[in-house]
């Protein structure tokens, strides 16, 4: 039988299933107690909370020891809720006044609290609601004497199946052996899905009725990307799947061999292959992947989900941490790119008719000077911990570059006067994402250290295609000759200028394997890509000659439509590399 659910985390696996039993029906346990046993029942409750708290602490400590902060934080937040007065008082009241058994009281209070939060119609609150249910179940399991299946002790490959797989179960399981997760409830944005992605375990959630169709040990197939689970698998199919799984595994392994190799073509041309990151933790991940640095640190994420902008000190800490994770390697810190599709409530930006053409990024920074200088000062100070570069987004003209550089100079003067340590030689570059900047690259180059092509916005602005508008999404294509000519112009201008100036790209196009040969052949020297694409792109670069890439670029630039170009580029990729795409 084939079951369809929500593909919550990609991955393909065949393994016997291990059913995570739901809690026993609480109706089989005593619902009421007698007046005489109230104290005893209160004690049972206190002890159960203590046991549950010990379980969570053990899981949290394990996650922390493994360096998994996301897991540790989710469990830490649950541990705090265990001792929340609402829960504690609610349960005690029901035991004392209504003579409820502890298990019934916990169930009722946890459900009541979870419902209140779920009713607030807010994604954050819904997650907290799931957390409350999770801890309620944990206490109830202790009260009912249910031995928690120790998911960390699983020694054979399995696919876990349950009515629900909770975040705390996810956090405790042995990620080496659990090949897949299937649950009847949950969705793409649930904590369980986030953790599954993080742990690289295939997950299909919201898979209705799966529990009634499987039994322990039965072979299951899970395809996390497609959201499919199969329960009857012929030996033949199983064998062919094993081949596919092994192939994927082999590809992954062979890519891992590239981690410590430079991004150098067979004929000895080296480029810088860096990663895009959203915060300091991303730099740690980038270092593990063997990135040559960070080509785009999206600092706006430090400004989101809070009620006031981050202080200089807070930003300094974040940038320093990223720099320390990549000693000696360049880390390009882009000043905040807010506005457009990224809103921030506390800046009180007015609603706009055309936000992508409006008050955003450097345009805000050049008006709100204190906000901008706080960030520049933090970057300058962090610069002493490594090789920081600063990058201004949404530059349209030379005036803006000069105004931004002027504020950078003022920030340096201030720090010097305060006798603070900072990077005196911090280099500044710009995002090239507005066509006017691309066309006037030769006028801008003297005032900047580098260009980084923001291919997403450059495509949208060049083609006049709103990339958020689904009706015209087919028109959005970075292989349009108009876009490619601008990109070539920017690269050639930087390469001609000498003086250590360079052109790179940090947009999605840099992570598109179809574009790798073209960009390389155009002479681009820095690729900043999504961490998940880094090794794939390195595989392509290290498998070809620069000479060949130049030929490909030249031919592609003679073609007239985006379709012709992408078809040609797909054919140009050497056959032995296609399985890596």
């Amino acid at each position: 039988m084939l079951f369809k659910g929500i593909g919550a985390a990609p991955g393909l696996a065949v393994a016997p299933c291990l059913i995570v039993q739901p809690l026993p029906d609480i109706n089989t346990f005593a619902q009421v107690i007698s007046r005489e046993t109230v104290d005893e029942e209160l004690n049972r409750f206190s002890n159960a909370v203590e046991v549950a708290s010990g379980q969570l602490e053990a899981i949290r400590a394990k996650a922390e020891a493994a360096g998994d902060k996301t897991r540790a934080d989710i469990i830490g937040a649950q541990a705090m809720m265990l001792t929340d007065p609402m829960l504690d008082e609610g349960v005690r009241e029901r035991i004392t006044d209504q003579l409820y058994s502890a298990v019934r009281a916990v169930k009722e209070v946890a459900e009541e609290q979870a419902d209140i939060l779920a009713g607030l119609d807010d994604p954050y609150m819904r997650e907290r609601s799931a957390d409350v249910k999770d801890i309620g179940n944990r206490i109830m399991a202790v009260l009912m004497g249910v031995q928690e299946k120790d998911l960390s002790a699983i020694v054979e490959d399995v696919i876990l199946v349950g009515r629900e797989i909770t975040p705390s179960q996810m956090a405790s399981l042995n990620a080496e052996k659990v090949k897949g997760i299937v649950a009847e409830i949950g969705g793409k944005t649930s904590h369980t899905a986030i953790l599954a992605n993080n742990m690289e375990i295939a997950a299909v959630l919201g898979c209705k009725d799966i529990m009634s169709a499987v039994s322990d040990g039965q072979a299951l197939l899970i395809n996390g990307g497609a959201g499919i689970v199969e329960t009857e698998i012929t030996e033949e199919r199983k064998a062919s799947l094993q081949v596919e799984i092994q192939k994927r595994h082999r590809i992954k392994e062979s890519l891992n061999e590239l981690i410590h190799q430079p991004a150098r073509t067979r004929d000895g041309h080296t480029v810088e292959l860096a990663a895009n990151i959203m915060g300091p933790d991303g730099a740690v991940k980038a270092a593990k992947l063997g990135a040559d640095g960070v080509g785009l640190f999206r600092t706006e994420f430090l400004f989101m989900d809070r009620t006031s902008p981050p202080s200089e000190e807070e930003q300094y800490e974040a940038y320093s941490k990223a720099l320390k994770a990549l000693p000696g390697k360049p880390v390009i810190i882009r000043t905040m790119d807010i506005g457009g599709d990224k809103e921030i409530a506390y800046l009180n930006l007015p609603k706009e008719e055309n936000p992508f053409l409006g008050y955003r990024a450097i345009r805000i920074c050049l008006q709100d000077k204190p906000l901008f200088k706080t960030q520049l000062r933090a970057i300058l100070r962090a610069g002493v911990h490594g090789r920081a570069l600063v990058m201004y987004p949404m530059i349209a003209s030379l005036e803006e570059v000069r105004a931004a550089n002027q504020l950078l100079q003022e920030s340096k003067d201030e720090l010097r006067a305060e006798i603070q340590a900072f990077d005196e030689n911090l280099q500044a570059g710009i995002m090239v994402e507005i066509p006017s900047a691309a066309v006037t690259a030769d006028l801008l180059i003297d005032d900047v250290a580098f260009f980084s092509i923001g291919s997403n916005d450059l495509t949208q602005y060049t083609l006049a295609v709103d990339r958020m508008n689904e009706n015209i999404s087919s028109l959005y294509n970075h292989f349009q000759p108009g876009v490619l000519r601008l990109i070539r112009m920017v690269i050639e201008t930087a390469n001609r200028a000498g003086r250590g100036k360079f052109a790179g790209m940090c947009g999605e196009m840099a992570s598109d394997p179809l574009a790798t040969l073209l960009l390389l052949g155009m002479g681009m020297t820095e690729f900043s890509v999504n961490p998940s694409a880094l090794l794939k792109i390195k595989k392509i670069i290290t498998s070809v000659d620069m000479e060949y890439a130049r030929e490909v670029a030249e031919k592609a630039m003679k073609l007239s439509t985006a379709d012709e170009i992408s078809t040609y580029l797909a054919e140009a990729i050497p056959a032995e590399l296609r399985e890596y795409l």
Binding site: P85, Y124, T307
Partner: protein
């Protein structure tokens, strides 16, 4: 018993981080601290209670403290809420 009315003016209301800051502050007080909002009494020392209150930007709430440090309790919590607005 000491009480004071305050306006919640930060964009997200008593959500996520502001809520946890408020609960942490309330937990430091010896007095019983509650929030009156929408005819409900919210236990300011409980994250669940504060989150469940659904207090948004523009809500007028009353901070009530009862106990030995009631004056300081109301003062410190109102100061904290004032800082959210910045």
């Amino acid at each position: 018993m000491v009480e004071r009315e305050v306006l919640i003016n930060n964009p997200t209301g008593l959500h996520a981080r502001p809520a946890s800051l408020l609960v942490a502050q309330a937990a430091k007080c010896k007095s019983k601290v509650s929030i009156l909002f929408n005819n409900k009494t919210i236990n300011a020392k409980s994250m669940l209670s504060v989150l469940g209150g659904g207090i948004r930007k523009g809500s007028k709430i009353v901070i009530v403290a009862d106990g030995e440090d009631e004056q300081d309790a109301v003062e410190s919590i109102c100061n904290l809420i004032a800082q959210f607005e910045e």
